[in-house]
Symmetry: C2
Subunit: 421 residues, 2 copies
Amino acid sequence: MASTPRVVIVGGGFAGLWATRALARAAVQITLIDRCNHHLFQPLLYQVATAGLSAPDIAAPLRHILRRQRNVTVLLDEVTAVDTDAQQIALHRHAPIDYDYLLIASGATHAYFGQSQWAEHAPGLKTLDDAFAIRRRILTAFERAEAESDPQRRAAWLSFVIVGAGPTGVELAGTLAEIARHTLSKEFRRIDPSQARIVLAEAGPRVLSTFPEQLSDKAREQLQALGVEVCTGQAITAIDAEGVSFADQRLPARTVLWAAGVAASPLARTLNVPLDRAGRVQVQADLSVAGHPNVFVAGDLATLQQDGKPVPGVAPAAKQMGAHVARVIRSRLAAQPAPAFRYSDVGNLATIGRMAAVVDLRGLRFSGLLAWWFWLAAHVFFLIGFRNRLVVLINWAVSYWTYQRNARIIVGTRSETEKPP
Amino acid sequence: MASTPRVVIVGGGFAGLWATRALARAAVQITLIDRCNHHLFQPLLYQVATAGLSAPDIAAPLRHILRRQRNVTVLLDEVTAVDTDAQQIALHRHAPIDYDYLLIASGATHAYFGQSQWAEHAPGLKTLDDAFAIRRRILTAFERAEAESDPQRRAAWLSFVIVGAGPTGVELAGTLAEIARHTLSKEFRRIDPSQARIVLAEAGPRVLSTFPEQLSDKAREQLQALGVEVCTGQAITAIDAEGVSFADQRLPARTVLWAAGVAASPLARTLNVPLDRAGRVQVQADLSVAGHPNVFVAGDLATLQQDGKPVPGVAPAAKQMGAHVARVIRSRLAAQPAPAFRYSDVGNLATIGRMAAVVDLRGLRFSGLLAWWFWLAAHVFFLIGFRNRLVVLINWAVSYWTYQRNARIIVGTRSETEKPP
């Protein structure tokens, strides 16, 4: 008896989840492995970090999303190694699992350009835990400023530096400016939160460098209108608990957020295949790995050139890659040839803050209020099967009209300083 | 110039917040001090622990609640000592603060009857951090059971013991039964969550001992109908990582939750006044402390006999005490006599689970579905100024009809096992 082909998918992000769903009717048995119990709608993670949304608004348990897809088993575990010869993966908690087809879609984490000591002072934003840590730092900084009587130290608590002006950095900076100027106004008695300094530091020459230059300019204008100091062409040379240093100046700031470097998941290294500088796997045209036609890499962990430029590390590309891997597996099972992967660029959006965004739809470019509404509609629409789109919309509508942010709750402070009882 | 009288209020729970609000028009300057940045609607905390609600649904920043009350300064800090002679309190982070009137309402925490080694195996439920820890344990237990191949060890992961059958223990047990039987059904491939064992262990003779006996019986019936094993008259003699022991039996269970003992905040000890066995302050008829007419204690930290029985440690009593202290302070400022505190018993409610509750309204007693609707209406109504009553209602309505629980997201696992990067 020929047994059902075993497909192992590592990572329940956009690539892994889309591949899993696209195999719903295939005669395979799928094991989906993730370290977290939830799929995360990462494009809105900055809203959790800035207390606009709470975690369940943008995350749903993988088991719940896939409960009706009977050919999937979800495992909460971490893959420790891949043995492509034995066609087996090793897990932290479970026994090793054999595969006939393997998709690795474990994504990326933040990287500090070799300056790992910066990590403790400048947290990045990739997971819900990261988002809670950043929320805690931001809210605590205003509290510390209120408690501080020395003007210089108070100013340092009211100074926020965001390193990196890609989409995440721009979102964080714009939202922080809104919090300082509107959300927290009237709540403090000693400090004026609107005096907070929000600095967006970018080593390159412009913000949102993956957008056309005219939209970068628009984004800079909108950021400045919100009260953000945009500081391009200046690389950070040091980050410590007291602030950041550039080549020729020092900026005291007690809150530094990292939105600059990205590094591929370390799992790529266990594959023994060539990686690019960021640790990503150079995949074949069908998204398989050189020398291993039944091993695929998709999402942020994969790098692929198309028409002379790299496929970008964005959610639509990850979804398309995941779905493509499923298509290749189905073709192989039917002994048919599979087409090469083609990234279909649906456009590029970035939000900047209240009523400010930039949109680039294959050359149709616009910014400002209209772009913001477009961004909002697209993101609410794509919040997949979370059955709380309505709640998210209400939360947003309320916070839009009142400038309030619902989730301004500091939790988890104890665990940072002392062991739980 | 006579300076404005300084009122210091320690604790932003029901007693402290109600006292603060009741002094809104008094010619005093108030400093409200809390370790947390939020007021917590504690009666619904078990819903956060069981993933039915998310933190912002039941918590709101104290600063935000009080932003328009200009005579209040909110400090995020911890009181380390009270010097009643110097009329000064010492703080962890701020300089000491002088007071003319002091209200201590720092509440209670859980106590383990001197068995502090039980704490790590049987977390209690008092703060949002506690709720997240319990949520993590519950959700992780089902994941571990799914990963476990040994039947005995799997059964231990699927066994849950709740120690103490007061309102919190009953709520946790009933909700856990609902999660196991309904919420998680169909999501696992190896285990059947409805096989989970939920044991409610109570040393005393009945559940909900502060209710009339007939309602205790009703509660027990409703718990059993939900699938909870109610185990009264059996004191726990040991708790460890593998389970619990009674006098004559051992129950393997990897998840034990503590809803039994309560101990007053340790701040009471620094007052040098007589305390009861649970560490609470025996207050005078006007809620002041013996020998210190300008120092008051209210809420769970205070103990007071009325008509031969103690005023219960419930939210309405705390609110009434807080408002009474404000009244006494206003009377003193006007050089008028203040009446003694009288607790007005508005009734006693406890929810058991889906459509099950008991209600005792001054002798009008009912249980079941009607009691549940009454409980729901009362709790939504009392969710003070959180501007998200609507969202809470929608969340509840959706989870009621779908049996789903929105907030089943495991976060914070890393911080328990390793230091953040």
